[in-house]
Symmetry: C2
């Protein structure tokens, strides 16, 4: 790109799926003059250094969060939400006047509460949550296209500089995302139903299937195409990230769980009583939701998520 | 194909996703000299007739189940399990000596109980369940590759002719499936966990998300990539088929639901108490199950089920 980059120095603190995808996207679009990354573990830093040398997805890898933040125009914390407070405290003395500090956490109220007290007045704090991901994690799992056509939610605290918010929004839009602004509390309620509860349910059912009497684990794996395998994907998500989500969005998750339990009781009663009409009506209603998601481009129209099938006559290896 | 077809006349009673996929696979592999199909609704029969004329996936469409069964060597009921008893009664007088009668139902004990009393002694009854599918239904939804690398479970009642069982197994293997034989009761327990419970949970959570206060339906759809969208796929499955599954496999489903509820209570308690270690341990265990499923080829190794992503710089329409 020949036009002026959006930011001079971008610092990525943490380099898992999200950090690595931001780096790859921002680099390939020329959104920053310089991308500096760091990560907590020496192994990850070493791997990011290799990726930087081989594919140019970062310019520099530094040893500490403070060093990464030093002089950066945009600092994005790409770490589990439970670690955000400590890192904010650590980088605060090193932040440049007018820098934008953001994150990518799946919970927003707790992150704001943990980070805001440490950030100086002359810093623009614009928390963000790109609603995108895969079941993979680590520095190799990211890819530049991850955010395309997904939503990125910004939750700037009251009084945040509108220009800074718009600048971060423009950054995310260039990475391919749609941007929406809401309060941290509303974000946490919405995500409790569209993300946190589904993960909790998936983690539960996969655990249930793992330790049954009368059904072997081999059978669970073999016959998983009956539906179970769909749940195993999100139940393979990063354990640290998800532990922190449930610890920090407890109230909204428990509220949604209560709603879910009520609905499960209703369906269970219909099964026990043999009430076929109630089941049929419910199953017909839920079909429409799928259609809506496909219509707005939030999932594949192709059946079975577009999973590929081998050709007939060619047996699998 | 120049070699002798496996069956002379194959009758498919019902032509949804499974019936249509069998027809397409069997035709493209030359497994039958003649495939005759029928369906309950005149609209479906008309559509199958068109598909037969245009793509040659069936040779003939007839008006009644009796006519389809007449003289057939293999008759497969591809209909909701609740309808199998009545159809068995209807076709019984028309079955040819030595014919194999099978089905594709997701529940086996109830199907055996409903069908067996009507079938004459000189008929080989080999119930089957191909554990494969998509969220689509209807005569256009089938495809020849659906069964490749999936499992087909046969549950022949005691005393079933071994040659007939093997012949049906060979048919399914040629369609690409792996075949396993077990009792109807064990099948129903295994599928309760790998298929029926997951569907019940998905139907529940999608229903929950549909009628929340404080979160709009538009928000649920927009932010569904956080995990929710995965559940909507199986919650878009055919309502009639699934109503019948829950009505006919009630006991095993309720048993698995009990196990699930216990596990959900444990995780809920861990969230309420802020027990991060318990959550982390659980989330680490469930990861291994996903790896196992991918290793045995029952799901894509590609992240996110291999969902496709647009290229950067190209905004979605």
């Amino acid at each position: 790109m020949t036009s002026e980059p959006m930011f001079r120095k971008v610092a990525l603190i943490g380099f898992g799926l999200i950090g690595g995808s931001i780096a790859r996207g921002a680099k390939s679009l020329g959104l920053a003059s310089e991308i500096v990354a760091t990560a907590r573990s020496p192994q990850t830093r070493e791997r990011v250094r290799e990726l930087g040398q081989e594919f140019g997805i970062v310019d520099q890898v530094v040893e500490t969060n403070a060093e990464a933040a030093e002089g950066a125009d945009l600092i994005i914390l790409c770490i589990p939400v439970g670690a955000c407070g400590d890192v904010a405290k650590e980088i605060a003395p090193h932040l440049k006047h007018g820098a934008i500090v953001s994150d990518v956490g799946s919970v927003k109220a707790a992150v704001v509460k943990a980070m805001a007290p440490y950030l100086p007045e002359d810093i623009h704090f614009v928390p963000a949550h790109p609603v995108a991901g895969t079941e993979n994690s680590g520095p190799d799992s990211g890819f530049a296209e991850l955010f395309i056509n997904r939503w990125c939610i910004l939750t700037p605290p009251e009084g945040t500089n509108a220009e800074a918010t718009e600048k971060l929004a423009a950054f995310w839009r260039t990475l391919g995302a749609n941007v929406e602004i809401m309060t941290p509390e509303h974000h946490d309620l919405v995500l409790a139903v569209t993300s946190h509860l589904p993960h909790l349910i998936a983690y539960t059912i996969v655990g249930t299937a793992e330790e049954l009497e009368g059904v072997t684990q081999s059978e669970v794996l073999k016959f998983s195409a009956g539906g179970f395998r769909d749940f195993t994907r999100i139940a393979a998500s990063d354990p640290t990230m998800w532990r922190d989500v449930f610890l920090t969005n407890k109230d909204a998750v428990l509220e949604m769980l209560g709603e879910f339990q009520e609905d499960l009781s209703k369906l269970t009663r219909a099964i026990r009583r043999g009430d076929g009409d109630a089941l049929f009506d419910h199953f017909t209603r839920t079909r429409a939701i799928r259609r809506g998601i496909v219509q707005i481009g939030q999932d594949e129209a192709a059946p079975d998520f577009g999973r590929r099938h081998k050709q007939l006559g060619t047996k699998a290896e």
